[in-house]
């Protein structure tokens, strides 16, 4: 009994601590789970990047699943994911709305001309207020919003085809299947 206490307890504590540390190593400390998941997406009305006179209203996107991609020309990860976004846009699976976050308008337009434009429409968030409403803390971030306006998923980091196929596509299909009135 005494031997068990002397050696057993420290051994158990050590194993417990090691277990916690090991699990901690596998987790990404930069990942902050979004409290928005499952909640109504924040509404916004912003000028369009290409035509300031034409507002982009999130309320007009109701009825179908859509994707919000937060980007900026100052963001390295955005350049990295751009070709993936173009490939996704070509599949026409879902409308992709860009949120141009605290960027230079001319630089952003030039970026889209030069690299190609994956977005159905780009909203210009020059003051970063909409980004704060959405809890954005590091571009690129990609949200999936359901037909009912609820946030279904958020991906933080450059988009990849693997993430798109595994996390986004199934959710888009399920969400749009649940709202058949708006299809076609």
């Amino acid at each position: 009994m005494n031997n068990f206490l002397k050696f057993g307890i420290p051994l158990v504590l050590f194993a417990l601590l090691g277990g916690f540390l090991f699990v901690g190593l596998q987790r990404d400390p930069g990942y902050v789970p979004s409290p928005l998941i499952g909640k109504q997406a924040p509404e916004f009305s912003l000028p369009s990047l290409q035509d300031a006179g034409y507002p982009v209203n999130s309320s007009e996107l109701r009825g179908r699943a859509w994707v919000l991609n937060v980007w900026g020309t100052w963001c390295g990860g955005c350049r990295q994911e751009h070709d993936t976004l173009l490939a996704i846009a070509r599949t026409k699976a879902v409308p992709m709305v860009g949120l141009n976050w605290k960027d230079d308008n001319a630089a952003a337009q030039e970026w889209l001309r030069r690299l190609g434009n994956p977005y159905s429409v780009v909203a210009e968030d020059s003051e970063g207020r909409v980004a704060i409403d959405w809890g954005v803390y590091g571009a690129p971030e990609t949200f999936l919003i359901g037909p009912d306006g609820k946030v279904l998923f958020k991906h933080i980091a450059p988009m990849t085809m693997e993430v798109w196929n595994a996390e986004f596509l199934p959710r888009i299909q399920a969400a749009n299947a649940g709202a058949p009135a708006t299809q076609g």
Partner: protein
């Protein structure tokens, strides 16, 4: 010999002072509130909110663009007469509990808050037992206990 040492020490102190001089500069470039009470509240809240890009800094310590924007939100909400709780709630709704440097007491943070108390109780328990046992042993060894 001592002279070289003094010189070396002086250089070392000067280098250290220089290295930390940067932190003496104010990060927040915005104009202060006219009312010092509001300014105090503003600074206090900023010191409790995490800058999410630079995770181990508060938004008062950081000059990341996001920290500047969050400070702007805090400033505007204070000016609009919102309470500290309103402001905290605004941040939690958007960024989750992680935005708070002092986590709230919830079901998922209960262990975090309770562990120090539990460890203290456990330590006291073990300590008392140990002392009692030592005392019992000492009693057994003392001549009054009988056969020595």
């Amino acid at each position: 010999m001592t002279q070289t040492f003094t010189k070396l020490a002086r250089t070392l102190v000067a280098t250290l002072l220089l290295a930390f001089a940067g932190t003496a500069l104010a990060i927040d470039a915005e104009k202060a509130f006219e009312d010092p009470a509001l300014q105090a509240r503003y600074e206090h809240i900023n010191r409790e909110l995490r800058c999410l890009v630079c995770q181990n800094q508060t938004i008062a310590d950081s000059n990341a663009t996001l920290a500047q924007d969050l400070r702007r939100e805090v400033r505007e909400m204070i000016a609009a007469g919102k309470s500290d709780d309103d402001i905290r709630e605004f941040m939690i709704e958007r960024y989750g509990d992680f935005v708070l440097y002092r986590p709230r007491m919830t079901a998922s943070t209960f262990l975090l808050w309770a562990t120090p108390v539990l460890l203290l109780l456990l330590g006291t328990f073990i300590g008392i037992r140990y002392v009692r046992r030592q005392a019992a042993l000492a009693d057994a060894d003392s001549p009054e206990a009988g056969q020595s």
